[in-house]
């Protein structure tokens, strides 16, 4: 008796909602979205069709979209050059270092920051270590130059005049770029871990202390297992971007120096240089299409992988 009554109530409510939703006028909502949709078309969707440029022999007299097709010719040229190997190797190697070492650095900073979180000085430390990420990479390049330039601090004061020409010796740059990258982004990337660590219930730690767990045990047995989903999510996100690089870091910090290409060229800087400096649109578009297609595949793969581990934190 009561169940039929309940059903009747539910259907009545459904009908009510249906009537109400059907009354909603979508036109104002569409108008609200219109500027955004137009912008997305111009900024994101039309360039997606621009991928076709990579398969064409560009001829300005015929216009971009009417140039002759050339199949995979551009890609063939690109992968025959030595540049292709160098830029892919650099992009992948730098990213692997940034991801693995970056995780260790960010986690350590986060654990130490939560440890001193109650002290007043933490209120000063956190903004200070995040600040390098807030300034533009151009200024970072100036800062690096103040250390490494011919009049720089390292050459004149640390090495006492027996200077090294940093901007023409490629072998030092893997170390320099790794240091600069962590200097810039370590504090900022730890924010997310600080937030998830401080969300952990403190009674867990108190119980562990009573049981005689050392600080190290508390970290490995409580902190890390609890924030594991977060770590995996962050790792997979960065793995899906493994073919992308921080354009500014690799172009500006080495001051666009040609002698350093063997260790500073990445796919992004190659795309820029062949487009703007060498005016070789074919090569440039081949490299950038290669990058975005592989990137797309990697995003899909890593998302499928996240789904298997933890459905909640999957992107889609």
């Amino acid at each position: 008796m009561s169940s039929t009554h309940g059903i009747a109530k539910v259907t009545a409510r459904r009908r009510f909602i249906k009537r109400k939703t059907s009354r909603i006028n979508y036109v104002p909502l569409f108008i609200m979205m219109l500027p955004g949709v137009l912008y997305l078309f111009a900024n994101n969707y039309i360039p997606m069709f621009g991928i076709l440029i990579a398969f064409k022999k560009l001829d300005y007299s015929k216009g971009i979209f009417f140039s002759n097709w050339c199949g995979f010719e551009n890609f063939e040229y690109l992968f025959k050059t030595k540049d292709a190997f160098i830029m892919i190797r650099n992009t992948l190697c730098y990213n692997l270092i940034f991801i693995t070492l970056g995780l260790v650095v960010a986690l350590s900073i986060a654990i130490m920051m939560t440890e001193i979180g109650k002290k007043k000085i933490a209120k000063f430390i956190q903004p200070a270590i995040c600040f390098p990420n807030m300034i533009s990479i151009i200024i970072v390049a100036y800062l690096v130059y103040a250390f490494l330039g011919s009049n720089g601090y390292i050459n004149r004061t640390v090495l006492d005049g027996n200077g090294i020409k940093w901007y023409s010796e490629a072998k030092y740059w893997p170390f320099i770029l790794v240091i600069v990258n962590f200097w810039k982004s370590a504090g900022y990337s730890s924010i997310i871990y600080i937030a998830s660590i401080s969300g952990i219930d403190s009674s867990l730690y108190e119980a562990a202390k009573l049981d005689g767990a050392s600080k190290m045990q508390q970290i490995t047995k409580i902190t890390l297992p609890i924030i594991r989903p977060m770590i995996i999510l962050m790792l997979l996100l960065s793995v899906s971007k493994i073919f992308n690089s921080d354009f500014g870091l690799f172009l500006q910090v080495p001051m666009n120096s040609g002698m350093l290409f063997s260790t500073t060229q990445t796919i992004d800087t190659y795309v820029y240089r062949s487009l703007m400096e060498l005016n070789n649109i074919g090569m440039s578009s081949a490299a950038s299409v290669f990058q975005s297609v592989i990137g797309f595949i990697l995003v899909l793969l890593s998302n499928a992988f996240v789904r298997r581990i933890d459905n909640e934190s999957a992107l889609f």
């Binding site: 939703t21 909603i24 909502l29 609200m32 979205m33 500027p35 955004g36 912008y39 039309i46 360039p47 997606m48 621009g50 991928i51 971009i64 130490m112 920051m113 440890e115 001193i116 002290k119 000085i121 430390i125 903004p127 200070a128 270590i129 995040c130 600040f131 300034i135 533009s136 990479i137 151009i138 200024i139 100036y142 800062l143 130059y145 103040a146 250390f147 330039g149 009049n151 720089g152 050459n155 004149r156 004061t157 200097w183 997310i192 937030a195 119980a207 005689g212 050392s214 500014g248 500006q252 001051m255 795309v271 820029y272 649109i281 578009s285 950038s288 299409v289 990137g295 797309f296 992107l315």
Partner: protein, 327 residues
């Protein structure tokens, strides 16, 4: 449960007078407490070292900018210059037209760009947050797909220059890449969905409010926190941007401060050529402090961020936490 039982048991043990367990526990707790304290102190020391490491380059840059030019050439950049001179700042003041011009462009682009960004983002996010909007999944995918896939830099460059012809116009600094981003839209949508109860909207509709009225009178006032967050993100992106200038701007009048710094880095002589003739005549007797001047311009370009960042950092960090979880 087990934990609680255990706590009660240890508490009972400790309360027993003169118990051996109690004494042992006390000693154990004490050593634990000491090790905790030690860990905390080590953390503090390491974090202070990291902080110094983060700040040090800025100090070197500021010190270099106020070092006397001759000392700079003789001794190089130092944290403690042996002779202080504000020569490079005087020089920049004399050349203020160029610097202020670039500053003006930066401020204009940041202000206008951030305003449009917030407007577009919020307008786009609101329908997406409405449960009763039939096409919301379609539009959500429409914007989400831009995170997954893009046409690459070359295609964007050709589209903006060949179809929209924005090269060497103020639009080139304003429009590409930064006007609306999927990340911000999803952030705002999640905020609307989580913190604006549907009952308010329904009540408003019953009272006869139109969609636009609901948006401007109810949604916008309620979304102040998230709007502040995304305007900080967007403002930072515009102020620090140099890639649009690098790709699309060759006209020196349209250089923003970062683009200007970038060009200056490649060519210090640019400053000489870009100043007007009358200014140049006044400066005829002044020799060009080419080494220190780069650092002083960088200091000037950094100044706004340095002043504003301490004020906004708490809000910004909060935004990163909210946004970082999804997206």
């Amino acid at each position: 449960m087990r934990i609680i039982k255990r706590i009660i048991r240890t508490a009972n043990l400790c309360c027993r007078p003169n118990s051996r367990v109690c004494g042992r526990m006390e000693i154990k707790m004490k050593t634990k407490k000491n090790s905790e304290k030690r860990f905390q102190n080590i953390s503090l020391v390491i974090m202070l070292i990291i902080t110094v490491f983060c700040i040090m380059p800025f100090i070197l840059m500021i010190a270099a900018s106020i070092t006397d030019e001759n000392v700079l050439i003789k001794e190089g950049y130092r944290f403690w210059p042996s002779k202080i001179s504000f020569g490079s700042y005087y020089y920049l003041w004399a050349k203020r037209e160029t610097i202020f011009g670039a500053y003006g462009i930066s401020i204009l682009v940041t202000a206008v760009g951030t305003f449009i960004n917030v407007a577009l983002t919020s307008l786009f996010a609101y329908p997406l947050s409405r449960q009763d909007f039939k096409y919301r999944n379609f539009f959500a995918f429409f914007i989400f797909f831009t995170i997954l896939f893009n046409g690459g830099m070359t295609a964007s460059y050709i589209v903006w220059t060949q179809i929209f012809h924005i090269k060497n116009s103020i639009w080139a600094l304003l429009v590409p890449n930064y006007l609306m981003g999927a990340f911000n839209v999803l952030l705002v949508r999640n905020y609307y969905m989580a913190s604006i109860p549907i009952s308010i909207l329904e009540a408003a509709r019953v009272d006869g409010a139109k969609e636009i009225g609901i948006y401007t009178r109810i949604i916008l006032p309620l979304s102040k926190p998230v709007i502040i967050t995304i305007s900080l993100f967007s403002g930072m992106a515009y102020w620090n941007d140099w890639t649009n200038g690098l790709y699309y701007i060759t006209n020196t009048k349209l250089y923003s401060i970062n683009v200007y710094l970038n060009k200056l880095m490649n060519n210090i002589a640019f400053l000489k050529s870009s100043s007007s003739i009358t200014e140049g005549a006044n400066l005829a007797g002044l020799d060009l402090p080419s080494v220190g001047i780069r650092m002083s311009i960088a200091v000037i370009a950094m100044l706004p961020v340095l002043i504003i960042f301490p004020m906004i950092q708490a809000q910004l960090i909060k935004g990163v936490v909210i946004g970082g979880v999804k997206g």
